[in-house]
Each structure stands twice: as C-alpha cells, then as structure tokens.
C-alpha cells in the first residue's frame, strides 16, 4: 500500500502546484480535479471507501463541474498577469512556510506515532458515518443545510433582480 500512497500523495501535491501555476483557468480547474481524485485514492488506501466515493461524487463530480461550466460559459482563455503586488512577493513564501509548519506540527502533535495514527482511524463505512452525522452532529448538520439554503436564495435574488 505504501508505494501507492506515495504515488498518489506526490500526484496530489504536483497537481495542487499546477492549480496555482497554470495560466489557463481550465487547466487549473482540471488540476484541482486531479488533486481531489488523488485524495480520494488516499482515502481508499486508508480503508474509507465511502468517504473516497463521496469525495469524488461531491467535489469532483458536482462542484468542479460547476467550476468548469462557468469557465466555459465565460470562455476564459489565457490569463494575463497583473502588476504583482510587491507585498505578496515578499510575504508570500514565508507565510506559506509558517502555515505549512504549523499544519505539520498540529498533525504531529495529534498523531505522534504510526501506531496511534492507525488506531485513530475510525470505521468509515456508510452506516458509521451516517450514525455519527445524524446522532452526534444533527444540529451542525441541519444548520449547515439551512446556511446553504440561505446562500442559494441569496444567489437567486442577486442574479434575478426582478422575480
């Protein structure tokens, strides 16, 4: 399993870099799809088949399709680089490094050894996820859906001034 993990982890990172570095929006979007699918493979390797498939269905199959559709509708071709902000150039890399370090530290703190990392993996089948979602986290779940509903209504109102 380890070689597969390294292959797809590397693919995810390369594709993530490509999301940022590509000049053409469609290529960026496609790279993002590769990132999401590689992450799904990593989930699969961890034994979380349900999460892997849901990741593909929701992120790669639904959200990114909308991204790609919008890019197609706007017919966005090559991007022209704007006057780069000097602040971003000087602060970007250090801030990124700090963020990555923090993230790494947090993960290390939580899962110090490989044994705990393996033990911390919960059962991630559809039944288990459903039980946790609709028993322990019902309220956050429902609040999130209301939030999304509000966002949808807002978008409709903004897009259609006269209803």
């Amino acid at each position: 399993m380890a070689p597969l993990f390294y292959i797809f982890a590397a693919l995810a990172i390369l594709a993530a870099l490509s999301v940022v570095l590509q000049r053409t929006p469609v290529y960026s979007a496609l790279s993002l799809i590769v990132v999401l699918c590689s992450l799904a493979v990593v989930y699969l390797l961890l034994g979380a088949e349900f999460l892997a498939v849901v990741q593909v269905i929701i992120y790669a199959g639904a959200i990114m399709v909308l991204f790609v559709l919008v890019i197609m509708l706007l017919n966005a071709r090559q991007e022209t680089p704007s006057d780069r902000s000097r602040l971003a150039r000087w602060l970007g890399a250090p801030l990124l490094l700090i963020f990555l370090g923090e993230l790494l530290f947090a993960v290390w703190e939580r899962f110090p050894s490989a044994a705990t990392r393996a033990a911390a993996l919960p059962d991630a089948g559809p039944r288990a996820v459903g039980t946790v979602l609709f028993r322990n986290y019902v309220l956050p779940f429902e609040v999130t859906s209301v939030l999304i509903l509000v966002a949808v209504l807002g978008a409709v109102v903004l897009a259609k001034k006269r209803l």
């Binding site: 269905i57 399709v65 559709l69």
Partner: protein, 336 residues
C-alpha cells in the same frame, strides 16, 4: 500472489472483451431494430444478416483520416475522448454478473471487484463522465461543440440528481450500498414491484444521463450539427461513440441489478447448467433493457431543451424526493 494477479488480469480481460463485443453488437442491434421499425432492411450485406457489420464499421472508422482543427486546445482535445471512454469502461468493474461459484475449493466471483459501496462507485464514475463531454465541447474552440457541451453538461448534472434519488428507495430497502447485497435482498420479490416509481425515475433519468433519444439534445443534429463531438473524427469520434454505448450497457446492468433481481431466476438441471443459468438470466435482462433503449429511440421524438430541463427539475426531482419520503415513512412505520 502472481497467480492471483494473473487471475484478476484474466478476469478484467474477459469482462472487457465481452463488454466491447456487446457494444459492437448493440450498435448492430440498434441499426437492425430501428430499420425494422422504419420498414427498412438495415445492414445485411456484410455477413449473414449483416452480422459482420460491426467489424467493417470498426475497420472503416480506424482507417479514416484523423482531422484536428487548427484552433483546438490540443491537450484537452486529446484528453476528452480518452476520459469519456475510460470512465465509461471503468464502471463495469463493480458490476456483478452472477452468483459466486465454487469449483474444487476455488471460488469464482462473477465480478471484477466487490466494493461495499459499489453503487456509489458507479455514480461517482458516471458523474465524472460529464467532463469528457464538457471538455470536448470547450476544447474544440468552435460554436456548435461549445453549445452542445454546455447543453449536455447541464442536462447530465440535472438528471444525475434524479438518477440518485430514484435508487435511494432501493438502498433503504436493502440497507446496503453493495450491489451484491442489493440483489440478494430481492430473493423474494424484485424491487421493481416494490419501488415502481423509483424504477421509472431511475430509467427516465438514465436515458437522459446517457444522452439518448428522447433526451439527446446535446447531439440534436438539426440544430447543433453533431453537438460536442462535431470537430472529432476517426478513432477519437469512435471513442465517444463507444463510450455512449458502454454507458448504456452499464446503466442497463444497473437497472437489472437494482430493480429486476440481477441474476436471480429459476435455476435447475445439472450442476454446470445450475452454475451458468444465473449469468444467463442476467444477460437476458440486460438484453431486454438494451432492446427497450432502441425501441424508445425508434419511437419517440426529441424533447425541446426547455421542456427537458423543466421536466427534470419540476417533475422528476420532486417525484424522486416524494418517493424517498414515502419509502422512508413506510419503512419507519414497519420497523416501529
């Protein structure tokens, strides 16, 4: 380990071979049946009853000149047909064809891999199938493909929802997302009798999802030339064509598994017959669905685009939600 790997490779090879042959002969069947409906002969020159026509078609299409328009986005223009074709083939990997068979201690599963979320896997792969169409339309850099690509992406996204909602009832009844368990659950009664509305929603959405008549707007010849694949020729066009038929086969397999009891059917006779009959029943049911597809194509006219979208969002989707609601109420009432 090596033996196991070889066995898996052999199984993949056999399944792919059967699938590709089915695709080729589905095209032949379609030409024959549609011809019959329209009082024509259909192909009959190449081989008896035109049975070798698929071979001739394949040879012809591969020897055609491959024209690439100058203004296309090359990488994506090449990627799109491969994406469409490989994704269409991928979903067959979780489809079970028959009961597991035990010969001399070795168990043979009529399935490439038994995923415990097999049903969702098929949906995941289908949902990625939109990219092949959308990217083909975009990368051709031409107006008809772009319009066709946009149309079909919108259509596929809309009908995917109904497709999913149509099978939720079945999943709730079986209490599992594994295709094998869903079939086993239908031993007493096929799901089509328990979930008739779910089946109608699923099948309607599936016809739309595979871009077939009466929902074949993306390819509406009279308005869009050929839709998203207008600028494609030779084997790249063939890949889109085969992807469409592979999707039809997958959708028919899924309809059989989810609603018509998969490989379940009368099993009798000596042990060899006993072992092969389930596979035969499965193939027979899938064949009936393929025939139904062709029958619909020969009979119904095409929808108008706004009718199609309105039908999907205002009728099929609410009906699907209602079906889920009623099914879960009945299940809750029964278990209480």
């Amino acid at each position: 380990m090596t033996l196991l790997l070889l066995a898996i490779l052999a199984k993949v090879g056999v399944v792919l071979l059967v699938l590709l042959t089915t695709i080729a002969y589905a095209v032949w069947l379609e030409r024959k049946v549609v011809a019959r409906i329209q009082s024509r002969w259909g192909p009959y020159l190449v081989g008896p009853h035109g049975l070798l026509q698929p071979v001739a078609d394949a040879l012809k299409i591969f020897f055609k000149e491959d024209i690439v328009p100058t203004e296309v986005d090359r990488v994506i223009y090449w990627l799109a047909p491969f994406l469409a074709f490989s994704l269409a083939l991928l979903s067959i990997s979780v489809i079970p064809f028959g009961e597991s068979l035990t010969i001399g201690g070795a168990t043979i599963h009529f399935q490439i891999t038994d995923l415990n979320v097999g049903l969702l896997f098929v949906f995941a792969v289908t949902s990625l199938g939109v990219y092949g169409v959308a990217l083909a339309g975009w990368s051709s850099n031409s107006k008809y493909p772009l319009l066709g690509g946009l149309r079909s992406s919108a259509q596929m996204i809309s009908y995917e929802l109904s497709l999913g909602l149509g099978v939720v009832g079945v999943v709730m009844l079986a209490g599992s997302l594994s295709l094998r368990e869903i079939v086993e659950h239908q031993r007493g009664l096929w799901n089509v009798f328990v979930q008739p509305v779910g089946f109608l929603i699923y099948f309607t959405a599936a016809v739309a999802e595979t871009n077939r008549v009466p929902f074949d707007l993306p390819e509406g010849e009279s308005e869009l030339v050929g839709g998203f694949h207008t600028e494609y020729s030779s084997f790249k066009f063939a890949m889109f064509f085969m992807a469409e038929y592979a999707n039809i086969v997958t959708v028919s397999c899924l309809a059989t598994l989810l609603f018509f009891g998969g490989w379940l059917g009368p099993v009798f006779g000596p042990s060899l017959l006993r072992a092969l009959l389930p596979v035969f029943w499965f193939c027979l049911k899938v064949f009936c669905f393929l025939f139904l597809y062709i029958w619909i194509r020969g009979t119904l006219p095409r929808f108008r685009y706004d009718q199609l979208m309105a039908f999907g969002w205002r009728f099929l989707l609410p009906l699907g939600l209602l079906n889920v609601l009623v099914t879960s109420l009945i299940l809750a009432w029964r278990s209480a």
